[in-house]
Amino acid sequence: MAELLQFIFSGLTVGAVYALVGLGFTLIYNASDIINFAQGEFVMLGGMITVFLVAAGVPLPLAALIAVGLTTAVGLALHRLAIEPARGSSPVTLIMITIGASIFLRGIAQIIFDRRFHSLPSLFGSEPIHFGGATMLPQSLVVLAVAAIIVVLLWLFMERTLLGKAVTATAANRLAARLIGINTRRIVDFSFAISAAIGAVAGIVVTPITLTSYDVGTLLALKGFAAAMLGGIGSAPGAVVGGVLLGLIEALTAGYISSNYKDAVSFLIILIVLVAMPQGLFGRARIERV
């Protein structure tokens, strides 16, 4: 029982990170139909920039803030400099561009930073919290809390603000959005920026637990993509649920079967979803009537 609880704790923590990466995929996909495989690099940049700023003597909160700002700028630049010039190309071409961007960012990170693993100090120390025979790092609670705050803020933004509704409108019908005067390019800009910021925050809070290096983005992008697929691509609640589920399945697989299979779970889920339920768990319900 304590063992199960332990697996659930660790599953929830990584699951929260997958959920945030999945949300990043969803935001960009909804605004532009692009699957952004550089999403994982946003997480890497958040962590790595913070690590190196802290090492240079910048206080952690300020370093984190700068890292989020810089990563957001990278997200915007990715859209303006790489995606936007290829507007109108086929989805496959655009996906190739994001994969290229991902490789490019990894290469740059390797040169600017290094090829080693790095950590950050935990926000509330590293004394484990005991609960029901299992233990949890205080930083895990930080990860969960930050993920929850981001999800709630994003939800409030989409439901309560006119800009949020313009994002929903653009996702629902781009032609109509343009015809009522929404500058849909700015909406896509905005989605890239928000996705990058969310990724960076995830990278910062999870680094004390999982460590970071120039190449953590590759696997994270895959996991986040699996989360978004599992939840139903394009559904924000789906991405969150998919991420948490994926984290739990991984932790249970690692715990009860073998940690060798942990990463294979994501591939398996992507395959199963593609073949058996392309709509995912929360695939867009069509309520249109003609």
Partner: protein, 235 residues
């Protein structure tokens, strides 16, 4: 108000409009008739800035328009009710209408006044205000699409087949609303396949065939034209 001169436009290498010229004067309803695939929607999209123009020019209230981005054109006063309605299905009726005013910079009071006017024009929308737009019937969606376009506060309204797929009594209702908008001073370019209904409320008409204007005149002249009677009025 609007003048289109020698406009050509293509999809890839296929030219869909081969030099269209037409004009819409202040306060008129001008209707654009034509069979499937004639290029009516393409022309409206060129005017709205959705479809690129290859050559020719567009002037709106005297200013050259053809190089402006779509969202700028809306802000300057051209609003389109697209073919097939294209409402924002997941958003509520109220949100659809509110977003219609997205490009406006005037204050909330003016927007509220226009919202009240839309609700007077289409009383049904008021009762449905919290419904997701995707759950509305076809006729309600058409009213919403028109209402949303009106919320932008346009001077020129482009309508693409607003009667398509509607029951006859709803067609009458929509046409009556268009007529009422004209009486309020709005200028209208109405694309229709339902030539009889469109000619009944229009001042002038153009007939478009495979990307060319083949006939133009007052609604009366067009109605009396033997070719139109045969091809579009089924007489």
């Amino acid at each position: 108000m609007l003048s289109v001169e020698n406009v050509t436009s293509s999809y890839g290498r296929v030219e869909a409009l081969h030099g269209i010229s037409l004009h819409v004067d202040d306060g008129e309803i001008v209707t654009l008739l034509g069979a499937n695939g004639a290029g009516k929607t393409t022309l409206l999209h060129v005017i709205s800035g959705i479809q690129p123009i290859t050559s020719g020019s567009i002037r709106f209230q005297g200013t050259p328009f053809e190089r402006l981005a779509a969202h700028v054109r809306v802000a300057l006063g051209i609003s389109q009710v697209p073919e097939g309605r294209q409402i924002f299905a997941p958003l509520s009726v109220a949100d659809n209408l509110r977003l219609g005013a997205w490009s406006r910079t005037d204050d909330d009071e003016d927007i509220a006044t226009d919202l009240a006017r839309v609700c007077t024009l289409f009383p049904a929308l008021k009762a449905l205000s919290e419904m997701p737009a995707g759950a509305l019937s076809g006729g309600q969606q058409q009213m919403l699409a028109i209402g949303r376009a009106l919320m932008a506060g346009p001077r020129l309204l482009l309508l693409d087949e607003p009667s398509m797929g509607l029951a006859p009594n709803l067609v009458d209702q929509v046409l009556a609303a268009i007529r009422a908008l004209k009486d309020d001073g709005l200028t209208i370019l109405l694309v229709e396949q339902n030539a009889r209904a469109a000619l009944a409320i229009a001042d002038r008409a153009y007939v478009l065939e495979t990307g060319r204007v083949t006939l133009e005149g007052t609604a009366k002249q067009i109605q009396a034209d033997s070719r139109v009677r045969e091809a579009y009025l089924g007489v």
